[in-house]
């Protein structure tokens, strides 16, 4: 093998020599890593995992993973974290062990240069496309390695993402249909996006494996950033996730108040049901029955900043609120940048998130000259427009980053709004860390309302819970 030309990327750490204590040790370390990512993992769960593994063959990765997941991850959110950590942990563990024991595969360079393979590139392309269609995971992995050998050309650029895309292009794999290809070519119809993503993942993994082998060092462990769990921010981002969040919220709201029974028992006695229950004890009302507490169905005014800094978060938020329309008595939404404009109708007609955000950006006419948010003016306009409709049972929700771009915040007008409305909430899509830095004046407004930070799904859920909490 030629001397190694790849420089070790700076952040890579050399592999420690000690072994983390066999299989049990590895599993415990895995559990530890799950805990670090915020999963509540008890010893009993780990014991269950060991028990489960006694019954399941380990030679198949999918089985091994499912067995672990069913004993360790007990909710869809946990499952998602589990998948991410599983990938990261076992890849690193296996590679570290291989490097420790100096097991290496034949360097890709030795096959990459040979000529008969070069002749067969076209066949390889077709083969990969076919495997993608069939979704055969094992074959995909082998083919990914072949592809790296064939198209990887030496050591690559050192940046994995670039190499992956280069190889993908060389293979002619695209999601859109390619009508100029022969009719029997599986790529003609376009490769499904999901499968292409899986293949890219395989490529990336194989490339990373090669890099670890050559440099004998591990890439830094990337903690799952909060952003992996953050709210969908771009309209192009995974709509399925929006649906999931909304569906979940709807169900939670529908069942809200039920779980409160038992904890808060100061409710009114339901005479009818108490009498009925007393029949069992011969007419003596031994057991009291209470009227269930109804969740609050507030009347809501939403004000959303749609300037470029927060636009995607706010459209998402608006669409969530409108999806939850059933839970509110009345909901009116406004968007603003420099001026304010009502968009209730847009959302009533348009259930689709993307279409709604397009419509708003076209028709709302909220930008005046500069396109920068002017909170002072917005408060004045809002107050003028609906002053008469605000009443103590109304709730006002403001979504914005409270960045005034140096204009006067006019908090006294905002205070007037808060005074007229029953409750006022402020949702800030920025992490609390950035509040009051730069031109953010959230503290001036937070005196009059309840401010929430809201950039993750669980925070949104907390907020909706606060919103509908019976009082």
């Amino acid at each position: 093998m030629a001397p190694d030309p790849t420089p070790t990327p700076r952040s890579y750490a050399p592999i420690a020599d000690e072994d983390p204590g066999g299989f049990a040790g590895q599993l415990l370390a895995f559990g530890e890593e799950l805990r670090e990512e915020g999963m509540a993992l008890g010893t009993s769960e780990l014991l269950d995992a060991f028990a489960a593994l006694e019954h399941v063959g380990w030679h198949r990765q999918d089985r091994f993973r499912e067995a672990m997941a069913s004993t360790l991850a007990k909710s869809p959110e946990d499952r998602r974290v589990f998948e991410l950590v599983f990938e990261r942990f076992f890849f690193r563990a296996a590679e570290a062990q291989a490097a420790r024991e100096r097991i290496a595969e034949a360097p890709p360079g030795t096959i990459g240069g040979s000529e008969e393979l070069a002749l067969d590139l076209e066949a390889l392309r077709a083969q990969i496309a076919r495997a993608l269609k069939d979704g055969d995971e094992g074959a995909l992995r082998d083919l990914a390695r072949l592809a790296i050998a064939a198209f990887g050309r030496g050591e690559g650029s050192g940046v994995l993402g670039v190499d992956v895309q280069r190889i993908r292009r060389a293979l002619g794999l695209r999601t859109e249909p390619q009508p100029d290809l022969p009719p029997d070519d599986p790529r003609r119809e376009g490769v499904p996006r999901e499968q292409l993503r899986r293949f890219e993942q395989q490529l990336r993994r194989e490339l990373e494996r090669g890099l670890i082998q050559r440099t004998r060092s591990l890439p830094p462990k990337r903690p799952l950033s909060e952003l992996d769990r953050a709210l969908p921010t771009g309209p192009a981002q995974d709509l399925a996730q929006v649906h999931r969040v909304v569906a979940q919220l709807k169900r939670r709201l529908a069942s809200q108040g039920h779980e409160q029974r038992g904890r808060k028992r100061h409710a009114h006695v339901d005479v009818r049901r108490t009498m009925r229950a007393s029949l069992q004890s011969g007419g003596v009302p031994i057991e009291l029955r209470y009227r269930p507490q109804r969740p609050r169905r507030p009347e809501i005014f939403v004000l959303c900043d749609v300037s470029t800094s927060v636009t995607s978060a706010s459209t998402f938020f608006l669409s969530v609120l409108h999806a939850l329309h059933d839970s509110f008595r009345k909901l009116r939404s406004f968007v603003f940048i420099e001026r304010i404009s009502e968009v209730t109708e847009v959302f009533e007609k348009e259930r689709d998130f993307r279409a709604a955000s397009e419509k708003i950006s076209q028709d709302a006419g909220v930008a005046d000259i500069s396109g920068y948010t002017d909170y002072g003016r917005v408060w004045t306009e809002f107050l003028a427009e609906i002053e008469d409709e605000l009443h103590p049972r109304a709730t006002v929700i403001v979504l914005g980053d409270a960045r005034t771009n140096g204009r006067p915040p006019r908090e006294e007008v905002f205070a007037a709004i808060c005074e007229r409305a029953g409750r006022t909430f402020w949702l800030n899509p920025e992490p609390r860390l950035y509040w009051n830095y730069g031109d953010s004046v959230i503290s001036a407004y937070a005196r009059f309302c309840t401010a929430f930070e809201c950039w993750r799904t669980d925070q949104l859920e907390d907020f909706v819970r606060a919103l509908t909490r019976p009082t």
Binding site: D48, A67, K74, A240, S255, E259
Partner: protein, 302 residues
Amino acid sequence: MPDALPEPQSVDEVAAGLRGVGYLPGSSTALVSYLAAKLGKPVLVEGPAGVGKTELAKALARYLDRDLVRLQCYEGLDEAKALYEWNYRKQLLRIQAGTAGGGQAGWGEVQDDIFGEEFLLARPLMTAIASERPVVLLIDEIDKTDQEFEAMLLELLSDFQISIPELGRIAARSRPVVLLTSNNTRELTEALKRRCLYLWLDYPEHEQELAIVRLHTPDLDERIARRLVEIVDQVRELDLKKPPSIAESIDWARALLLLGAREIDADVFRATMSVIVKHRSDLDTVAARVGAKLAEPAVDAA
């Protein structure tokens, strides 16, 4: 514990067995069912409505050749309806019979007597563990109950026993396979989750749903079945009040078969759409989003 019934020996055996009774398990479903039988732990099955959570329990019962004991949960469900209840009327009769016979049956005797098993009405949970032959116990929609009820389940789920104050501890005669289903409308307590294996069922992959539809309506033309599954997929993508379940896909397939449809075009879709979409507002959305994209019948006839 008498356990005469054969236990499954491998994951593949469970998968094949479930398939044999008309349930196509996903990759994790078979594995978790196998683990449940092996480890004797309850399984918590979560997922959207209509993905076959309840059906899984029924299929398991058929496959393992066990009786299915079902407890449907609802708000306000209590011990008397889930576990056991004293048969007041019978107790009363017993007391009256004692006095009417003129006999001066001692207080202690009567008391011992009326709190015997003879006067106990077994409800589903009790039936399940008291059965001589192991059963499959389905606790359906556990998220509908309140937390007190969940807490009450804990003893049953971890030790398979029930404490009755008057009788003492009743241990299980056989160990049931327990499935709890939840639509995830509220967070279940950690304590309950800790005792269960977890299985998340989602809408099946395209190919799997096709296989399910084909299994239930083998006479339907494969081309139409494929088209049907594609359309159902599209409908699920929309933000509906109630997305179509697997059972509804099957119903739709049957409806198409009955109507002798040769193609799913705009007309057929309009006429049969109500099989998969059940809300007024959803109907409008689906008609506009999916129905409009389908070919008009004229194109097909040409």
